[in-house]
Subunit: 239 residues, 4 copies
């Protein structure tokens, strides 16, 4: 690409409208906090939410999207299958996807992984520490070797995902669990990054390190000038 | 497991009944040739085909199946979604799956991969040579460093699959293409092996090396005594 | 192989002879405890130690060795380079290697990895919990989804190793660190498994789960009937 | 990095000085052709050769090197071990390394891989076609799905290397062999790319696609702002 990646931040935007505690942390929604940070780093950013027509993910919006960030939790089932089909095709054609936290159970992430994406969880405000296990990877650039989130929901192994192409972070939780927290995948001509934080009950997306990782991930997941692949019948030998 | 793996060979069983050329090569179906070989190696083997009730894949059959071998081509769409759902769950719970040749486009393989599984193809009776690129892997045991199939349908890259956890074979084709021909995946508590040969127009499943690979793959894909995973909410810390 | 894997357990055997606390835990050396367990599971097992001629690793011994288990800590430098060369060649030719705990810094492991193999450590008798992250892998067979060691030396990330071909265990430590504790590698025609426990100060090799993992690893690391590879100049085309 | 990667192209520079046929193709050496192209793409590039003091790889030069490109063939043994040690440490600390063609047998590449790095070869001017198998990877950016080299030395599998972290290219050769031709590795805090072309007897490094891949690889291999890792004893728990 010769331009900076264009990002769309999608949020189901439910908790923030119904739960005062969450509304206090994210008065304009999780998507706005993430979008604001990405804009401040010089990126072009749109937002989209579940209750907009076509969930805000019209062709017009997606045509201007190099990387789609996804946050969903209690409304996965309300995401229409035809929108999921459309996003799935776009990821396989090069659009980057960053799935955050509870989006492990989103239709689009499960479709791309092919597994149950199940895991353990416990919402007890435990300390989480994320350790970098791939220090030469672009997504770890500019971080310390670990960073801490003071209180978060616990996610624990076994996390039923395909083995990541690159595992960037492993989380330690106060209560005794570990978790593969930063997982890179090549899928078709696109790239997918799963990042474990953060639950809506905590101010995780206000934390600089978390925003830093998301920004790095946008740059990593942005499409390259992908080779045009000719699928299907090839009438003549190549050689 | 304390017993030898129990295998079910599934075949859509269409070409053999309608195409005299194919019928001559596989008079009782591709499934019977594979099943016969596996039986002769001491394994317990059932067969199942598309037009049987529930495609022959009843719970009773699957309860006696450690590894499911799959061959489909022109009738992928006729496989019922509820059967696919059931097999998907069983693979994630430990049942091995071996997807052969055109089964790259089967519903169950695509579901497990999460990608389009598309590829290039040309049916021109070209020479194929399969090179071992993981000589220490159990699926390569007892083979030479390469083996040749005199005439086969060509499959070429880009093959739109997730990067294999282990790549065992790479094919060379006379006409100028290469292909990742033997691909191992861990998915959930189960294992999946994709093996490229063979097209119904050629006597590929009569070739000893091909049968040898399938037999090795059965042993590799058979479930281990998988740890019981507790998914979902964990009320108490583990430590 | 048509026979059960033949194992040689190598130990530098220093702490047990000089430190009464260690001697009490392992009166005949760490190697004897491991060897005894493997013998009781039906395997043929030899032992070898640093101060024997050729460190006990004569050609005669190695010719009867399918899998070599290695424990070293304070005497890595005393291992002769020609013995390391010999073992390196044998691993690349098919012999399995299981490197335990502080053997991350052994000459043979560092040679095979190509990296510094450095890590964090703290010997404070902390609780360790090992989580299975590859439940379909043979080395996890028969385990629970996690197991605990009451007190151990801590090893922490970043662990400077190549990304494992398969990551089987991730450790959680009481003091806040995580560690990739069970790492599988294919190297040449051989296989290597690194397993983090146990430090000489703790009775770790008396713990059933730890011995169970080592036994599984022996079976996994045992050589297959590896394809004979022809390296070097090939005067004629293969096709 | 806030600056463009600074590159040093190292060449043993032997064939070009002694073999008139090679001198005609590369009158100023292979290194100059590669360096010239990288400079024209806006990068800062130095060159260094075997017969310079310290092989041209003084600390002053390496302190200005983000990515080191290496070409060696008949003089691997003349590279001093202390220089290899120094480069090895720098790669593990973040410097990128691109090993070209016969550098598979260079001391530095073998050290980093830990394997024999052996392969098959035949110098018969065969056609080579490189297929992209990771179309979303930065090193494939801007390429077609395959490209052809009219005549090259053949390299064939089994190539005794660790499984690449990402496999970007697979080569097809006229004579019947395949080869993993573009291999990415994370090692320590650095990155390594092996790229198979080109032999000194052919004008391979004048071919635009080959130069394009090398340029992409420079950008990929350039160090990120790597986390500072604290190895060794940690007196206090992190949590």
């Amino acid at each position: 690409m010769t331009h900076a990646p264009r990002v769309t931040v999608w949020n189901e935007y439910q908790h923030e409208k119904t739960n005062p505690k969450v509304a206090k942390i994210y008065p304009n929604g999780i998507h706005e906090v993430i979008a604001q940070h990405l804009r401040s780093s010089g990126l072009t950013v749109q937002t989209a939410t579940l209750e907009q027509p076509e969930h805000g993910l019209t062709d017009a919006v997606l045509n201007q999207t190099d990387v789609l960030i996804w946050w969903g939790h209690i409304a996965h089932d309300r995401v229409q299958d035809d929108i999921v089909d459309k996003i799935h095709k776009r990821v396989l054609s090069g659009m980057g996807l960053i799935a955050l936290h509870s989006s492990h159970f989103s239709k689009i992430f499960k479709r791309l992984m092919g597994t149950s994406c199940n895991l353990k969880w416990r919402n007890a405000g435990e300390k989480e520490r994320l350790w970098v296990v791939a220090p030469s990877h672009a997504i770890a650039s500019g971080l310390d070797e670990s960073f801490e989130i003071a209180a978060e929901e616990m996610y624990g192994e076994f996390f039923d995902i395909p083995t990541p192409d690159t595992l960037v972070f492993v989380s330690w939780f106060e209560g005794g669990e570990v978790f593969r927290s930063g997982c890179c995948y090549h899928r078709g001509q696109g790239k997918v990054f799963y990042f474990r934080p953060g639950d809506q009950d905590y101010p995780t997306y206000h934390q600089p390190e978390v925003l830093h990782v998301i920004t790095n991930a946008v740059h990593w997941a942005a499409p390259v000038a992908v080779p045009e692949v000719k699928f299907g019948r090839q009438p003549k030998p190549s050689s």
